[in-house]
Symmetry: C2
Subunit: 502 residues, 2 copies
């Protein structure tokens, strides 16, 4: 078979697979938004049938045949061209898929699903003892999985590869260590300051119907195309891409808390703008896909924090927000801006501020790395967790529920995922610094309601490339340097130095 | 291969297919409710990929092999047992599927989709000339399709078989002819009466939020399980079954018209209660499927008209409805009941009352039968349409839009579907008469808010059987007689005789 024909057949085959994946994406959206209570059991069986189909297709030996026919051809050479990128990434995905024995794949899927359900039920009851066996089972299987897909240096790298291709535990240890130390120094200075942001203003009366209008308005203003998307209420907010022209986000409204729906929506809109910026003409092939969870998170954190919590943004948006909520009538812009940037060590990662957030991730990263290096077992987790919270954040969880059992990630097998959050923050700061050097300063633009220049830079330098470069290389090409902790550290020190008068 | 093993493998294969179909059902629901405007093109491509997969599976030669292994076995014998029913119906579906050449299937799918889009665009513009070629193309292909799947007596029967298995054009001509003649006599008497129902009360101010509460309340009261369903707004209402525990309906709200959302919801809830009454344990096999469009329609029309437009029902529900709408404060129960039962010949089928509805169907049935008997061509349709409207309903469409172009059915290839509506009305009256003889009278129960006895009878005699019997046989077993026009004629004459003082 000629390489041209092999490429064409492979492309069509993968495109067809992508349509089935995207039907699953839609079913996932529905499962977390509008599904009737009694529809869950059937939905799980639909997903299982789809998973069988997708596993078959991802490990179909014809894919191996097409890739062989492409080996060494002109189409596969010349690394940056779309065809070469696609062949390279299809090969990577195929090789990883076929290394996992079918029985292991099935066992993992079951264990993850059972783990999630167990977490859902037992977290509420603070029942670590009942939950532990599920976690052990998932961990054992994930260790097996790491061995099956393989690694150069250590098992944890095999997991990282699923979320941040090319990233390595050893490198993260350095990056995160430096960031963690700087963060703790900054946090100490903040806690020593006499400034007390008036956070009470965020817990007033915010009618949900008005919040709904506001989140539509703000996400649209930032650049989320709502004609190709929508915003629905849900319990655990997420962004979900069905396909070109259909990239949806969800959010959660509290009638007595401002931040959740507002910053949650801006965060998810950041993810959505990345998906909306991927090249549609490459949909269904790696060139049309997001490159990593870290890069994805860089886009959500950028819009949520760097933009959405800036003074420039609020100079524009607060005059539009304030008249809509009677609760804000007596709150000046500066107080509001301070309140949404309040730093306060807390137990819960998802409620953490920009400064302490990465310390929550550091705890998880160090623990899961130890689990995969064989230096820690599940039985030791609660103790190790509490010790690190004391050391990094100065607080001790009073229970399992808000301690070691607070996240669903481990229960559902997502070891190696947590670093994406901090990588996202690091990338965001570094990308932002470069974008601003090239097209800024941005804050004056934002205070006039103009957010297009920053989005355009991200479109060109990040979104547009799909999976063309591994995330590290993508960041390096966009900014001239590999990912470094300095930009985020400097950003945090400057921003919070000003806010807390340090 | 042993018949037992063949059955098990076939059953699993078909179940897997059903999961993919049900992902498509969900995508169809989304397409008509919440999809973003820009998501339609991608959705069409998702459907095309799914259609390719489903066509492959429906014509998979392994199905033929399994059926062969089952031929003459004990499992396939003894007609009423679930296994025998499934084998019989799987064979029927398979044989029909493989008779359609792949090229014809593809051409039909394209022509239908183009036909629908053309109708959508050109109906608004009243542009028959531009629409005609699309309709001709669909008709030509449907004629080819009828030849491909085959028939005993005439091509139209091949189409009927898709919606009402076992039904024949010749028999419908008799049934519908008798019904039509009796209906026209009744209509003449009604039009000669001096009674004028106060329909104006239905066009007052009905706030949508309240309507929404009301349709949830009434459908739940009738027996629609909303924990296994939901009601969403849409442009063209429909019922859609995703699977066990997930049977959804949609409706359309007008702030200045009561009937659309209320009776539309009750109608769709009738469909949904049928789906919710199918045996869950047989989901994914013929024993778990609705048997025909006519039987489906019998359930929706039963709840919409026989129940929902009865005086007994309104004795119960009007005291609950009236206080919710200021517009009804001065409207007594009897006036309201007369208004929702007003008879008035009109141009539009979907707005027709119980008396004239079947005349609209008769027009379509006679025209499409003539098209498939070669007695009529597309060019002659508008003239023939107008002539029949004049003869049966005494009115002449002023344009194509509300005349020959009013329904999407023909544009999307649904020739042979229209009879289902009138069959539904006939079945509903006949089933109801028998149910009432066995468990009634019902109206006194309804006026106390108790609708369970009628639903229970339908569950036992209709829903529960899935595709066990062809629709005619199902009706005959349930009522002791094959479908006859008398019950519907008697029901209409008695009900409207009283309402119009005839």
């Amino acid at each position: 078979m000629s390489p041209e024909r092999a490429y064409e057949e492979l492309r069509r085959f993968q495109l067809e697979t992508a349509y089935f994946e995207s039907l699953g994406a839609l079913a996932g959206w529905d499962q977390r938004t509008y599904i009737p209570r009694k529809g869950h059991a059937h939905r799980a069986r639909q997903f299982a049938a789809l998973a069988r189909l997708l596993h078959q297709r991802r490990t179909d030996s014809r894919v191996g045949g097409w890739l062989e026919a492409l080996e060494g051809s002109d189409l596969a050479a010349g690394g940056e061209r779309p065809e070469a990128v696609n062949v390279r990434e299809w090969r990577r995905d195929y090789e990883r898929a076929v290394r996992v024995p079918a029985e292991l794949a099935v066992a993992l899927a079951e264990a993850k699903s059972e783990g999630e359900s167990a977490w859902e039920a037992m977290r509420e009851e603070n029942n670590w003892t009942a939950f532990k066996p599920y976690l052990k089972r998932v961990l054992d299987l994930q260790r097996e999985y790491a061995e099956a897909v393989g690694y150069e240096t250590e098992p944890y790298d095999a997991l990282l590869e699923d979320y941040e291709p090319g990233e390595r535990a050893a490198r993260l240890t350095g990056l995160f260590g430096e960031l963690g130390a700087a963060t703790r120094r900054l946090l100490d200075r903040i806690l020593g300051s006499s400034v007390r942001p008036p956070t009470e203003v965020l817990h007033r009366d915010f009618p949900v119907a008005t919040q709904r209008e506001v989140v539509h308005e703000v996400t649209a203003a930032l650049g989320y195309d709502l004609e190709g998307g929508r915003i629905d209420p849900t319990a655990h907010p997420f962004e979900l891409s069905v396909g070109p022209g259909d990239v949806r986000i969800t959010t959660r409204y509290y009638p007595d808390y401002f931040n959740a729906a507002f910053f949650g929506s801006v965060h998810e809109a950041g993810h959505a703008m990345y998906e909306q910026g991927l090249p549609d003409e490459h949909w269904g092939s790696p060139m049309g896909q997001a490159v990593s969870m870290g890069v994805h998170e860089s886009q959500s954190r950028l819009w949520e924090n760097v933009v959405g919590r800036s003074l420039g943004f609020w100079r524009y948006f607060y005059p539009r927000l304030q008249p809509r909520f009677a609760a804000l009538a007596d709150v000046p812009l500066e107080d509001f801006h301070r309140a949404v940037n309040a730093v306060q060590p807390s137990l819960i990662r998802v409620e953490a501020d920009e400064v302490t957030y990465n310390l929550h991730i550091l705890v998880r990263f160090e623990l899961e790395l130890a689990l995969f290096r064989g230096e820690l077992e599940v039985d030791d987790l609660p103790g190790a967790w509490n010790e690190k919270y004391r050391a990094y954040l100065g607080i001790t969880p009073p229970d399992y529920k808000d301690g070691v059992m607070q996240d669903v990630h481990w229960a559902s097998g997502l070891f190696g995922y947590f670093p994406s959050y901090t990588l996202g923050n690091l990338y965001a700061a570094q990308l932002f610094a470069r974008a601003e050097a090239e097209r800024g300063p941005f804050e004056p633009q934002w205070s006039r309601g103009s957010f297009a220049a920053l989005l355009a830079w991200m479109r060109e330098n990040i979104h547009h490339h799909g999976r063309r470069y591994p995330p590290r290389v993508l960041v390096e090409r966009a900014t001239g340097e590999p990912p470094r902790p300095d930009y985020l550290i400097r950003y945090l020190e400057r921003k919070f130095g000003e806010l807390y008068g340090l």
